[in-house]
């Protein structure tokens, strides 16, 4: 069951929210929380009931380790055991085949099925263990950058925190200290019209981002990247339009998902942190990472980069820390070399930026933004293309090495274009390869990039702007939800 499907919106969500508040009113907050855990487990089991055992086992194991960590005299040892077990679980399900292929390229694949959301609930629980160990470990009451939980929560609260359906599948990766206190608050199960309305509005705007924008650009991107995967060469505009479309697809898809998650949590009186803050408006790559998938960036910074030494070490070590962090960030996205390359490129960009910032004055904001955007778009190519061959095909196209073509009707209307482009009847890897595909995709891309570059995001909009945005998008969301023949899953589900 996905957030952007009719069974979720007209079935699961109303039942879950109504039951939560009804139980809260008649039986108290604890029963409401039990209902929430039950709904969340049912939500998870919808995909594959077998993996429910894994999720429940992981929650129980981590809670036990947290208890041991707090109630025995060896917190460091229990923390190590906890982290090792979580990473082993993630390693087996996500990386076994990848590592096996590196060690023994000819060995048959294990074909381990990747349980949904394992990357997210594993990080979530590692964070919890580290935060629980922090006051025991070094006398601090908080984990780095957080206000960590001072006491062990109840198993019910912990289970609700990990399995809470708005963030279970694809984040945001919320800090225990941000959410656990909210789940234990006295007013949690009391309906608040303002929260329900705010949450519903944010959810509907996220739904529009996903169904109307992400899926539209996803279709355009798929045409180009699938053609490259099938051995075709892409001409200049086909390659650029596929790459620009993918950059928009992944932004609208994931930020749309995050908005929906934030909205759902808000309806249930829980506030999630912001996960996307107009990242394509960033004027440098470091700022991009402070705006893109903010909760993952925060996790990597506080639980990996800083423990490695962060930027308090020498330039060489700092570069190494950055590269390690970003390579692992890439690997977290998927057990494949294309993700490692993507992470490595971002590590390189960050390292270059850090050196540049040390030696020179910052670039003018506009130039910095353009360079950042170009670097980010280029790095999305291996991320999406999947293999070195496909990546090179797309990059060759973007460089114009596979020719520049334009529809003959465009060249007829604007004859000077004949100087740079060969006229063709249709461009086979552009949209539906119709005569008017080129102006259609051009106009859609223009709109998409206008939205991400010039407009405030949902969380920075005024209330009035949000309502106008809903007026502009709701009917198209209904169209896509109820009438589109194909519903594309969220991209981040695969991670």
């Amino acid at each position: 069951m996905m957030f952007h499907t009719a069974p979720f919106i007209v079935g699961f969500l109303p039942i879950c929210v109504t039951g939560f508040f009804a139980l809260g009113r008649c039986c108290g907050a604890e029963w409401a929380l039990r209902w929430l855990v039950t709904c969340s487990l049912a939500f998870y089991a919808w995909w594959n009931p077998e993996h429910l055992v894994l999720l429940a086992g992981s929650v129980a194991l981590n809670y036990t380790i947290a208890w041991k960590l707090r109630h025995t005299g060896a917190p460091r040892a229990w923390l190590t055991v906890g982290i090792a077990l979580n990473l082993a679980l993630l390693g087996w399900f996500k990386y076994a085949d990848f590592l096996r292929h590196i060690v023994a390229p000819n060995a048959p694949a294990l074909h381990v099925t990747l349980p949904l959301a394992i990357s997210f609930f594993t990080l979530q629980q590692i964070m919890f263990l580290v935060d629980m160990a922090a006051p025991m470990r070094d006398g601090r009451t908080t984990a780095p950058g957080t206000t960590g939980p001072e006491t062990l929560p109840s198993l019910l609260s912990y289970a609700a925190f990990v399995t809470f359906f708005p963030h279970l599948i694809a984040g945001p990766i919320v800090r225990p200290a941000e959410v656990l206190p909210q789940l234990g608050a006295a007013g949690l199960a009391r309906p608040c019209i303002e929260n329900i309305a705010d949450g519903l509005l944010i959810f509907l705007l996220g739904l529009g981002k996903k169904l109307v924008l992400a899926d539209t650009f996803g279709g355009f991107a798929d045409t180009g990247f699938n053609a490259a995967a099938n051995g075709a060469s892409l001409t200049f505009f086909e390659a650029w339009y596929a790459s620009l479309s993918y950059a928009l697809q992944i932004y609208f898809d994931f930020s749309g998902y995050s908005d929906m998650a934030i909205g759902l949590a808000r309806m249930l009186n829980v506030r999630f942190p912001l996960n996307f803050d107009s990242p394509y408006q960033a004027s440098n790559i470091a700022e991009f990472w402070r705006r893109w998938h903010i909760t993952l960036g925060g996790f990597l910074r506080d639980y990996l980069y800083i423990p490695l030494g962060g930027s308090r070490t020498g330039a060489l070590r700092r570069t190494g820390n950055l590269m390690t962090t970003m390579l692992l960030c890439g690997l977290w996205h998927g057990a494949a070399w294309n993700f490692v390359v993507w992470g490595g490129l971002h590590g390189l960009f960050l390292a270059v930026h850090a050196q540049y910032r040390r030696l020179f004055r910052p670039l003018p904001a506009g130039l910095g933004q353009a360079l950042t955007l170009l670097a980010v778009i280029l790095a999305w190519v291996p991320f999406r293309a999947g293999s070195v061959h496909n990546t090179l095909t797309v990059l060759r196209g973007m460089a114009g090495l596979s020719g520049i073509t334009l529809p003959r009707m465009i060249v007829s209307a604007l004859p000077p274009l004949a100087a740079i482009a060969d006229p063709v009847s249709v461009m086979p890897f552009l949209g539906d390869a119709r005569t008017l595909s080129f102006p259609e995709i051009s106009a859609c891309l223009l709109l998409g990039w206008l939205i991400v570059l010039a407009l405030p995001n949902v969380h920075r909009m005024t209330d009035r702007a949000r309502h106008w945005s809903l007026t502009g998008s709701f009917a198209l969301s209904v169209q896509a939800l109820l009438f589109a023949p194909h519903v594309a899953p969220f991209l981040y589900f695969q991670f």
Binding site: T216, A232, R408, S425, A433, T435, A443, L476, V478
Partner: protein, 320 residues
Amino acid sequence: MGRILLACAASLALYIGAFTWLLDRPLTLGALGARIEASLARGEAIQQPKLVILAGSNGPYSHRCEIIEPIIDRPCINAGVAVGVGLDYLFTRWKKLLNPGDIVYLPLEEAQYARPRATGDLGPDASIMLRHDRATLWALPLRRQIAALFAADLPAVIMSLIETALTDDGFHDPRAAANGGYNAWGDHVGHTAMLAALNQSTLAAITPVHPTAAQIRTGYGTVLITDFLHWADLNGVRAIGGLPTGFADSPIADDSLAAIRSIYRDQGAGFLDLPNHSRYPRTAFFDTGDHLNEAAQISHSVTVAAALSRLTEQKHARSR
């Protein structure tokens, strides 16, 4: 909460209102609508037994009624439009103009059999009906009427605005100059081998997609075609199935061919299968795997006309 409901209601009202009364796609859908109306007008004007070719765009590009008409000795109308246009829409429009003794030749594209209902409901005909042909829309099932209200996605919204503005501004559509046009029979003309030579790199890069036999058998298009064949049989209209033109290096699989053939034969309709299964080398095509260039179109039409003549004469002889 009230403001959210108001925004949602306003959004729906604006969307439906705009696409029912205001926005249009005169370049994309306008061209298709004009094609449909022109062939219907020709069909209405002809009072004697006629041949109607119904298909996607391989109809007008790969078949030439102008050539076929004198060979089979009856008026011919090339009423193929585009692969995405709903068959239920075309059949509904044409049923009114088909009389006993008429022949309908259906060299439908494979995708037209395999198309799922949800995709068919949102084809270009949905918007054409909503904006210009509500009488036909009301004659279709309620499901189709509701889908027509929601046929426009984001690219359609954007292109509606652009195309409406361009047309209001007197934009001259350059497609006819670049690709040719249509004659009085509804055939596409002017897509010469010389123009086709400019598209050889495009043609070389095309990888045709063939639906499987199972997709053809279970597709919603097949349901619509079967219903039409049944109607034709009841009303004395002779329906003859056929194969669309395509690349010789990408043949239709044998089981898919059998599936297509059995759709017609199971309903007692004829089926015309040329020795080459209507497959030609890529050099015989114009811009896509469905569109022969003009020279190949003429040659294919002569072959089809001769085969149609034989098929109809056999039937005639049997009935005597």
